[in-house]
């Protein structure tokens, strides 16, 4: 089963199946690439600018040129979208062809002689560029795309130095696509990348073209908003400034920005992002390529919640005074905490790790509580379950593996709002390879056909008893998959439901040789790290009523876990529910301000990098816990980040091997065998995410996300 995680093996599997959206495999024999895998048998040889190059059969001329290291200018072609061939920028000369050919759409034939440096190609490119610029406004100085514009760059490299255009330029009405995407439609060159993205990846057929020739317009036919959780990606796709970011409009120029490679924490996927900063301010967030997680997409929340980093920030330690919370010094805050802790007995001191808690602060908090003699710590939203077996709470098939599944059962989850990027993969699995997707829970609109089996536990029992027709579908599938949502785990009867699901997984062969299709889709970035580190209550602590509660970035805690008379200490970056409940607030850094480890839902540890300094008196969360330990008389033995990471690797060795997935063992149904079967309730399964745009303290503080929420409601 561990073979599924080998990237070499995966490349082979992916190369052998042809899918609509998958780019041509990059397995080549050329000077440019090294490859550990043998070249595919079906290759052909073509000549590019006089040098022979071997490419897989069925590749395009453009791919042949790329393989040979020749860059072909293009606007409409994008490797993750279908081929349109309408911009004509990629024209090359092919020997014996009567005209220049559009290389992105032309299949390469054996012994083709491709020329890209001839006067014909130069003239063709200059001609295409002249036509494109004829109707393109000369507003680069006030265009947000300026500096990172494909049209600008390619006009400089491939365009002519003069034009013959004397008429008036065409005017196009701007379209209203909602609070995220700004449109200036006179700049549009009709590459239709946005249309194809919306149709193929996002799965909302909102965008399209109307009119022909000079009157072509991109729009929504009748005026409506672009309703997708991934709509922001069209900003990156747009080769010109027709679609730009509304919140980022006129705030910075691309060459002023400092880019920091980081990881998103808005959902449990851990999408890779670039944090663009100017001075001490985060100006925007853009996706970073990671084929194994997010490819090159990110959700709108990941992209646009950054303005929440500038609002409701906790920048000084605070303590409850007569008229509410008031700023105090660190010493005063620590003294108050020490006094409260001294009054509590061991298990009455409790720690709750929230959605945005990072692994370093969780391990520091766990060590501190353990040194104080308390085993009373828990992850928010994961109340009843144990985490002894890693495979019971991970996405075992990995995110890429979703595409190999052929029968998918969603239980109590809505991937469209919990992890939009994963939903795009599910959509691909469903539409390209024909996977059957079924749902137990509230009806879903996932942008692809979903079979609705039922609402709750009764349907699950029916499946387990093999009396439901979908059982047969799963049983007969080669790679069946179950996706369990965080909404189900958070229920009172979560344990009993998981027992049923494990039993169903055994019966349908969800886990077999080389395949583990039992997947848990978490709804927060901090959860898996907490479970990996064993941030769960000990047996004695389960009964203890807490007198002092440490909320580690925890804002969505259950009221029952924080007694009304408890002394609450909040460590975090934003003034939200946790901070308003707190007696003492200690200012922590937000995810763009600290270098910390997050483990995504498939168990992949990844590290964020500090893009800007923490604001005010805020500090890295783990250093706050470290300082607190000194005051509480239980000093922690680590003083720098490397030492705390060494401790992290001691507790959970996989945390050291970042960006890699550690395979986990499946206990063949015996994970919950020692626990007596519980009773289930009839309440329908629902997703844990009610509003996609507001799930944690950062997104709740964001004005952009608030605007999205209000437009979604109307």
């Amino acid at each position: 089963m561990f073979g599924r995680f080998s990237s070499a093996a995966r490349t082979l599997t992916r190369a052998s199946t042809s899918r609509v959206f998958v780019p041509p495999p990059q397995v080549v024999v050329g000077a440019k690439f090294f490859s550990s895998t043998p070249p595919p048998v079906d290759t052909i040889t073509v000549t590019v600018d006089g040098s022979p190059v071997e490419i897989p059969k069925g590749s395009t001329v453009l791919h042949a040129c790329e393989t040979a290291g020749v860059e072909i200018p293009r606007f409409c072609y994008h490797q993750r979208l279908s081929i349109a061939g309408n911009c004509r920028m990629c024209l090359v000369e092919v020997e014996k062809a009567p005209k220049p050919v559009a290389s992105c759409a032309m299949p390469a034939m054996p012994n083709m002689n491709i020329k890209t440096t001839t006067p014909l190609v130069k003239k063709a490119r200059e001609g295409v560029m002249e036509f494109l610029l004829a109707n393109h406004p000369l507003d680069c100085p006030i265009c947000d795309q300026g500096g990172e514009c494909d049209l600008q760059d390619q006009a400089m490299v491939f365009g002519s130095d003069r034009g013959r255009f004397v008429e008036t330029k065409r005017g196009v009405e701007d379209k209203e696509l909602g609070p995220l995407v700004k449109t200036v439609m006179t700049r549009c060159i009709h590459c239709t990348r946005c249309v194809r993205f919306a149709k193929e990846v996002a799965g909302v057929e909102d965008l399209g073209t109307t009119g022909r020739g000079r009157d072509t317009e991109i729009g929504t036919y009748v005026s409506k908003l672009f309703r997708s959780e991934m709509s922001g990606n069209v900003i990156d796709l747009c080769p010109v400034g027709a679609l730009t970011s509304k919140p980022y409009a006129f705030t910075a120029r691309s060459w002023e920005l400092k880019k920091t490679e980081s990881v998103d924490v808005s959902d449990a996927l851990g999408s890779n992002i670039l944090v663009d900063t100017k001075g001490t301010e985060v100006m925007r967030i853009t996706p970073r390529l990671n084929e194994e997680i997010n490819e090159e997409w990110i959700s709108d929340k990941a992209r646009f919640q950054y303005d929440g980093l500038k609002r409701q920030r906790i920048d000084v330690p605070m303590a409850k005074a007569a008229g509410g919370l008031a700023a105090v010094s660190w010493e005063e805050a620590f003294e108050k905490i020490a006094e409260a802790v001294s009054k509590a007995s061991k298990d009455e001191i409790k720690g709750i790790a929230g959605k945005l808690a990072d692994a370093e602060s969780i391990v520091a908090m766990k060590d501190l509580l353990n040194r104080l003699g308390s085993g009373n710590h828990m992850c928010e939203g994961f109340p009843t379950l144990g985490a002894d077996i890693r495979s019971s709470y991970l996405m075992n098939s990995s995110i890429v593996g979703v595409e190999d599944a052929d029968a998918i059962l969603l239980v109590g989850t809505n991937p469209r709002v919990e992890a939009p990027v994963l939903n795009a993969r599910l959509r691909r699995a469903c539409l390209s390879t024909g996977a059957t997707v079924a749902n137990v829970g509230s009806p879903l609109n996932l942008t692809f056909p979903v079979e609705e089996l039922g609402m709750g536990a009764a349907t699950l029992k029916e499946l387990d008893a093999q009396s439901h027709p979908f059982f047969k579908t799963m049983k007969e599938a080669a790679n069946p998959m179950i996706v369990v949502g965080a909404g189900l785990v958070g229920r009172e009867d979560g344990l009993a439901l998981l027992q049923t699901l494990h039993s169903l997984a055994e019966k349908t062969g969800v886990v077999g040789e080389g395949w583990n299709g039992f997947n848990m889709l978490h709804d927060s970035a901090g959860r898996v790290a907490g479970l990996d580190l064993g941030f769960l209550p000990s047996e004695s602590a389960k009964k203890a009523a807490a007198k002092v509660v440490f909320l580690l970035n925890s804002d969505d805690f259950d009221e029952a876990d924080v007694p009304a008379d408890a002394f609450v200490v909040y460590v975090g970056s934003h003034g939200d529910k946790g901070a308003t409940r707190a007696d003492v607030i200690l200012p922590g850094a937000a995810y763009t301000e600290k270098s910390s480890t997050y483990v995504n839902t498939e168990g992949r540890p990844q590290r964020t990098k500090a893009a800007v300094a923490p604001i005010g008196q805020a500090r890295d969360d783990w250093t706050i816990v470290r300082a607190l330990s000194e005051v509480l008389g239980a000093s922690l033995p680590y003083d720098d980040l490397n030492a705390v990471r060494a401790r992290l690797a001691e507790v959970a060795p996989h945390m050291e091997r970042t960006t890699e997935v550690e395979p986990s063992t499946w206990l063949n149904g015996s994970t919950y065998a020692h626990i007596p079967a519980g009773t289930t309730s009839d309440a329908p399964f629902t997703s844990s995410v009610a509003n996609f745009y507001m799930t944690d303290a950062v997104s709740r503080a964001s004005v952009t996300m608030a605007k999205c929420t209000s437009t979604k409601l109307t």
């Binding site: 001490t280 301010e281 980093l309 409701q312 906790i314 000084v316 934003h574 607030i585 005010g616």
Partner: protein, 149 residues
């Protein structure tokens, strides 16, 4: 003309009031005052009066280009008063055309608002949001902090 009659004459009262507003010395040094009240006092024609009471005079015996002038009704803004000349009189007083205010009245667009004297230089002058004089000082802070409620 007796002295008392002269002192009570409307024009005399006007001149006296006008002179007292800006200070006697200033008014004497100011050529406009002398020209409009003494040199051009006769012969002259009152061409019209606008809504605010500004009087528009013409004297065809004066030098061409200096033959039209206005006596402002509101002496408080003697210096800046030209901006208060309503648009319908603008063409006439600036020798752009020969149409008087009442004649231009018909061309007024429906959205026209009453002409006002500029507030530049007064305490009511416009201050942009970044201006130091703007009562609400612009916050250059990069974030807003949690206030505790």
């Amino acid at each position: 003309m007796s002295v008392s009659k002269f002192a009570n004459a409307p024009l005399t009262r006007y001149i006296a009031k006008d002179a007292s507003k800006g200070g006697i010395i200033n008014k004497i040094v100011d050529g406009n005052f002398f020209a409009s009240h003494v040199l051009k006092s006769s012969p002259r024609t009152l061409v019209g009066t606008d809504d605010k009471g500004n009087q528009y005079y013409e004297s065809m015996t004066s030098q061409l280009g200096r033959h039209r002038w206005v006596l402002y009704s509101d002496h408080d803004d003697y210096v800046d008063a030209p901006t208060g000349i309503p648009p319908e009189w603008h063409g006439w007083i600036n020798h752009i055309n020969d149409f008087t205010g009442p004649e231009m009245e018909a061309t007024k667009p429906f959205y026209a608002i009453p002409a006002t004297v500029t507030k530049t230089g007064t305490p009511d002058a416009y201050k942009p949001k970044g201006s130091w004089k703007h009562p609400a000082k612009r916050s250059w802070g990069k974030y807003t902090s949690f206030c505790g409620v």
